[in-house]
């Protein structure tokens, strides 16, 4: 009991030094929290966007389609799957697509394109495509074949609304075929790479031109993202087609998130390590300064366990004194950032080409605050071991001699 008291008062013996350590702790913890929340906010948004606008939760293909990327490898049991999905209450929307890789040609330029034949109603429910329109209208009835293209693609083709590019691709027999289409709308997502290659077209028009019946991609949007693995497993068990979750269909994203998590972990580790080294250093100094006192304590009967505990406690107090303030400050920064948003449009070009938003709303799940607190406690205990252990190596006779 008195050990606790002594340790706590010892923390305040060198007020200035202790305050510096606490400041370091406050700055370290709050910046770690903010950093984590910032990147979590960025990724959370990116994932949601990628799922809602691009990949949906689950995609089904013919395994051969995945391998050869040829439109003729359609999904054999598409109808059964579609019916089954229609009855599943976890499924929010389904889009049956016919996708062809080809080129988009204008008189001034030609660009590789992913031509996606869709049921316009289905597609809109699944990817909210009409919500991404910036110009024009969603497949309004006109003469000719209406298409929606990304702003980026239109720019690359140097074409605008109502202009008529040609889409060129191979048909069922491997012969080149071309259709003239009319741009009725331009869309823009946060992923400019996506916008630069995807062309949406009514499904029948594309199927007729390609002389292929059936679909080669089924995209499924769920009500709750947490069901993704269950639904996938159930679907896969009843079909020879290939069922993939968003993590598999956009592996770049999953890898990016994973890499990012690891990078984050290392950054946090380095930051905490720096703070821990500062604490260890300060406390080693304290031990050296108090050699005589420690010698005296051991001489008058304080055993090594108690000396050890005393320094453990002192270090832990020193390192944890700043922690609540750091956590609070971090939380406050996150709350402020979340409220007003952080505008990154300065660096927007690079970000939006990777599908990130220019506005970031930092947020951190409550769980992470607890994990962080746990980490801080573990680190301060580990940091405490060094000076406490050092104090044990003192020998009372030599220490006392210094008196």
């Amino acid at each position: 009991m008195m050990l606790v008291q002594i340790a706590w008062r010892n923390v305040w013996r060198n007020r200035g030094r202790s305050l510096v350590v606490m400041m370091a702790m406050v700055v370290g913890i709050s910046s770690v929290i903010f950093l984590m929340a910032f990147s979590w906010g960025m990724y959370d948004y990116r994932i949601k966007e990628a799922i809602e606008k691009e990949s949906s939760h689950i995609q089904i293909h013919n395994p051969k389609y995945k391998e050869f990327m040829e439109a003729k490898f359609t999904i054999a049991d598409a109808n059964q799957l579609d019916q089954k999905l229609g009855k599943d209450s976890r499924v929010k929307a389904v889009s049956n697509r016919f996708v062809v890789m080809g080129m988009a040609l204008s008189s001034r330029s030609n660009v590789p394109a992913r031509i996606i034949g869709v049921d316009t109603l289905e597609e809109n429910k699944t990817t909210d495509l009409s919500g991404s329109l910036t110009e024009g209208e969603y497949f309004t009835g006109t003469k000719g074949i209406p298409v929606l293209v990304g702003e980026k693609l239109a720019k690359d083709l140097k074409l605008g609304l109502k202009k008529k590019p040609v889409l060129q691709f191979q048909d069922a027999n491997g012969d080149m075929t071309a259709i003239k289409v009319k741009i009725v709308g331009l869309y823009k997502t946060n992923n400019s790479m996506f916008d630069g290659m995807n062309v949406f077209i009514p499904k029948e028009a594309l199927q007729n031109a390609a002389k292929i019946k059936g679909v080669n991609e089924i995209a499924i949007l769920l009500n709750d993202a947490r069901d993704v693995d269950d639904v996938k497993t159930e679907l896969q068990s009843g079909t020879k087609s290939m069922v993939e979750t968003w993590k598999e269909s956009i592996p770049e994203l999953a890898i990016a998130i994973d890499t990012f998590d690891k990078t984050m972990f290392i950054i946090v580790l380095i930051l905490f390590l720096a703070v821990a080294i500062g604490i260890i250093n300060t406390m080693l100094m304290a031990v050296l300064e108090r050699v005589r006192e420690i010698g005296m304590l051991m001489a008058v009967g304080m055993n090594k366990d108690k000396v050890f505990s005393m320094f453990m406690l002192e270090t832990i107090f020193l390192s944890l004194a700043g922690a609540p303030i750091g956590i609070f400050l971090g939380w406050a920064l996150v709350a402020w950032g979340n409220h007003s948003g952080i505008n990154l449009s300065m660096y927007g070009e690079g970000l939006s080409s990777m599908g990130f938003s220019n506005m970031v709303y930092p947020s951190l799940p409550v769980k992470d605050y607890f994990i962080l607190t746990g980490e801080i406690i573990v680190i301060s205990i580990l940091a405490a071991l060094v000076p406490a252990y050092r104090s044990l190596r003192l020998n009372p006779a030599t220490a006392i001699r210094k008196i």
Binding site: I6, R13, V300, G301, N303, A397, I400
Partner: protein, 228 residues
């Protein structure tokens, strides 16, 4: 009964160049109730002797028996415990824990002996009274004079009810008034409570107060006089 017995006690420091015989075959008996000064020129081995009989340092050869126990063969942790229960220490300086008050410093030793709160409190206050510092009970060492700090150290040394008190130059940093004050208190505790004191000193006035004076030179006892 002898509370301290040494037999052929030697201490050799194997320093960098030459080995120093800090103690050379010292035979010494100290009885309960003594008020004894260890004197001698600087480097004669006073501190070395006190450290070894206090269980703070190891002898190179010979035996030390304290309160009937051979302390030369004790493990380090047993020795710390032995010191806690049997020996009171007063050093020249740095006796007190700076972050504790006078009273807490005295109580601290009893806390380590696991004595209950009421006893701790009462004994601490009565000891502070005995050294004339009851009014300073709530002060920290930095708020007290050197003489007051040494008196608290004496109170602290007695708190554990030790078999004897070892004091290595307890007055070295004190002015003459504080010195005689501290000696008065030690002498009174020795007379009234029967506490055994063994202290080293250079100070003739302190030597004059001792009843037995042991003189060391080059690690040998060269004289041992008990006043009538």
């Amino acid at each position: 009964m002898s509370v301290i017995k040494t037999h052929q006690l030697s201490k050799i420091y194997n320093g960098s160049a030459v080995a120093v015989h800090a103690l050379n075959k010292v035979d010494l008996h100290i009885e309960e109730g003594e008020f004894t000064a260890i004197v001698g020129p600087s480097g004669s081995g006073k501190t070395t002797l006190l450290n070894i009989i206090g269980g703070l340092d190891n002898a190179t050869s010979g035996d030390v028996e304290v309160a009937g126990k051979d302390i030369t063969r004790m493990s380090e942790n047993d020795l710390i415990d032995f010191r806690l229960h049997n020996i009171g220490f007063v050093f020249q300086a740095y006796n007190l824990i700076p972050v504790l008050t006078a009273q807490e410093n005295v109580e601290f030793i009893m806390l380590m002996q696991k004595r209950d709160k009421k006893e701790r409190h009462e004994r601490a206050m009565s000891l502070l009274k005995a050294v004339g510092l009851e009014s300073q009970a709530d002060k920290r060492p930095s708020q007290m004079s050197g003489g007051q700090q040494q008196r608290v150290a004496v109170a602290r040394a007695l708190a554990s009810r030790p078999r004897f008190v070892l004091a290595d130059e307890p007055t070295a940093n004190l002015d003459s008034v504080s010195t005689s004050n501290l000696l008065d208190i030690m002498a009174r505790l020795n007379q009234e409570e029967g506490t055994t004191f063994v202290f080293s000193t250079h100070d003739q006035r302190v030597i004059d107060r001792a009843r037995r004076v042991i003189t060391l030179e080059d690690g040998h006892i060269v004289s041992d006089e008990t006043k009538a």
